[in-house]
Amino acid sequence: MPELNHYLQLLIDGLSVGSTYALIAIGYTMVYGIIGMINFAHGEVYMIGSYIAFIAIAGLAMLGIDSVALLTIAAFVASMIVTSAYGYSIERVAYRPLRGGNRLIPLISAIGMSIVLQNMVLLAQDSRGKSIPDPLPGKFDLVAGGAVSISYMQVFIFVITFVAMIGLTLFIARSRLGRACRATAEDLKMANLLGINTNNIIALTFVIGAALAAVAAVLISMRYGFINPNLGFLAGIKAFTAAVLGGIGSIPGAMLGGLVLGVAEAFGADVFGDQYKDVVAFTLLVLLLLFRPTGILGRPEVEKV
């Protein structure tokens, strides 16, 4: 069954890319759920996360540490800490002073922020891409002869994404802060009256989103082993598509949307050719907004006066 094997392989590849889209998409969806705005600089946070991962890996390798596990953990920790700082700063600089005005204003300031971040990295780290060798070479053959296979890196991506998703779901559903998050998303003013420090909660959502984007950044940059300062733009748009696909504002929706987008892209690239891979995502976004703007799991939005 060569046909079936081929599609099975596409499905595996699509799901592994899609699960990282889902991680980035959560950042968009959480911020949107609470303040109803799109964090345009989120893609750049992802890009910075992958730079920090490379810096951590290359820096420790220079110190003579060659244990893959240690390098990976260091990449995750460093990347998550730094992007959290970025998430928090973006909220303080580009969003908090502008809250409550015309909707266009924070949007433009966030676009400005994203241009600043991209060009900052471009100037500090120069425009040439950087690459590292695959830290986890090798793969499992699922069908004898290697017609369908799953690489160790892909397994690693699935495991980490799964853990991150479970962790986030438990945090939102069970913890005190998670409850405060949900309350703030439901009704910001009321939550404020009930003694929740909503400013901190909003900052927290930016931080969580940024940290999850860092997880995705570490995974993707280790898998493909290549980064450049421009990759945040595309990753941002795709993750946003994933968030809209699942219904923006809904966390399970973002997870589902990411997986669906990853698979759609893998199959789309197979049918139309690799160079149209990105067009598939955009087209999907436009079609979706046309026919089902609320997404798969989203609630219809009632506009209030």
């Binding site: 820096g59 002073p97 433009i108 676009i111 060009n119 909503t198």
Partner: protein
């Protein structure tokens, strides 16, 4: 707002740490590829000291913020611009007069400026045209369009392709390019304009990228990444500005019995650009006083109230989007004619961002503001080469700072309005 009070020392320490966490890993460490190995090196001592200084400054600023604010308030003030002056400056009639003066200067410019000056002025005029077009969409109708460069590309490629395959001239193609861009605007706008503002921003962003990817990949038609070269220059009623006229044409200098001067061509291109800008100014000035223009602004202010008054938001948005796109089409076909060579890389998101920065800096909805911003933002990188590297960084920062301190732009225009005296 409920705010737990932290000790100022703690806040200050935290802020300084944040500055370090943000700046040091990205700016203070540099990845370099040595052979096949990736290595990390510290940045120059100057950079490191600058980062440290920023962190310290942040620390003290947070620590003494309250006191500094008080000191600032009691400090002697610079005389502010009197309310009357700022009122006069933002009046539509004053702005119209200033625009008139600018037009006179622009008309005289090519006959006094050098060749280089005229050439740069032509570039400025392209951005003025783009800024005026995007101003309809963003400034007047309040729709954030991040894919405006897509329509610019449609206009440029319309002329380039028609001229390349069918040998059509610039003047035939100019309206066609405008119509093509408008058509694209219409077709794209139809599905997405029912959406809320932020969705619109991302979808238009995606659209701009789709156009560029298509142009790059449809190699048989568009020449792929190499683009289209040797695009014909415009002619004046069949008179060519080249040294030797092509088949069946006459040259300008032969017809008028002048000696050949290459600057004539540059001046001619400049005058075409000026003509396009004047046309745009005229049309937009008429439009904003028509019911449709009033409807754009009303929609920007309050969509729900508009609906209640029986206006159809989709039709109004679509008209703004289409008309805005058509000006990008004109600008695009002129750009193709001036450059003689276009590639998909001329139409990246950066261009959209520059045009948006022009509209935002000038004051959304204000034509004079947009013109002045286009002049300043286009001239700065041309005049100072050192500035060119930092251009996008500064544009981005400008967008953030403008939104925080002066969201109405540098030179906003007053609207006809009535106020209830309280």
């Amino acid at each position: 707002m409920s705010q737990t009070t932290h000790s100022p020392l703690k806040t200050a320490f935290f802020s300084a740490l944040l500055v370090l966490a943000v700046a040091y890993p990205v700016l203070g460490l540099k990845l370099t590829t040595v052979g096949i190995k990736l290595q990390v090196h510290g940045a120059s001592p100057t950079t490191l000291w600058a980062i440290a200084a920023c962190a310290v400054a942040m620390f003290f600023w947070q620590l003494f913020r309250d006191r500094l604010a008080r000191a600032w308030q009691s400090a002697p003030r610079l005389p502010k611009i009197p309310a009357r002056v700022s009122n006069t400056l933002t009046l539509p009639s004053t702005q119209r007069r200033v625009i008139m003066v600018l037009i006179v200067i622009a008309l005289a410019w090519p006959f006094f400026g050098s060749r280089g000056a005229v050439d740069i002025a032509t570039l400025v005029l392209i951005y003025v045209l783009l800024g005026l077009g995007l101003n309809i969409v963003v400034g007047l109708a309040g729709l954030l369009d991040l894919g405006y460069v897509g329509f610019y590309a449609v206009g440029a490629y319309s002329y380039a392709l028609l001229s390349h395959y069918y040998g059509l001239g610039f003047w035939t193609c100019l309206p066609i390019a405008g119509l093509m861009a408008a058509l694209f605007g219409f077709v794209l706008g139809f599905p997405v304009l029912r959406l809320r503002g932020d969705y619109l921003a991302i979808v238009t962003l995606g659209f701009g990228e789709i156009i560029r990817i298509l142009l790059r990949n449809m190699t048989e038609l568009t020449g792929g990444p190499n683009g289209i070269s040797n695009i014909d220059k415009p002619s004046l009623f069949g008179l060519s500005f080249d040294r030797v006229a092509p088949e069946g044409m006459q040259t300008f200098h032969e017809f008028f019995g002048l000696s050949y001067q290459s600057i004539n061509k540059v001046i001619f291109l400049y005058l075409i650009a000026l003509l396009l800008v004047l046309f745009a100014l005229f049309v937009i000035n008429r439009l904003i006083r028509m019911p449709i223009g009033r409807a754009w602004e009303a929609l920007r202010e309050d969509e729900i109230a508009c609906r209640a008054l029986g206006l159809n938001p989709t039709v109004i948005k679509l008209s703004a989007f289409t008309i805005g796109a058509s000006f990008a089409g004109f600008a695009g076909s002129f750009f193709a004619a001036r450059q003689g060579l276009i590639t998909p890389e001329s139409f990246t998101f950066i261009e959209s961002a520059i045009i948006l920065a022009i509209v935002v800096a000038g004051g959304m909805g204000s034509q004079l503001g947009v013109i002045l911003a286009a002049v300043v933002l286009t001239l700065l990188p041309e005049l100072t080469r050192e500035f060119a590297d930092y251009r996008m960084l500064i544009f981005g920062a400008l967008m953030v700072l403008m939104m925080i301190w002066r969201p109405q732009g540098l030179l906003p225009m007053q609207r006809p309005h009535l106020e209830l005296k309280q």
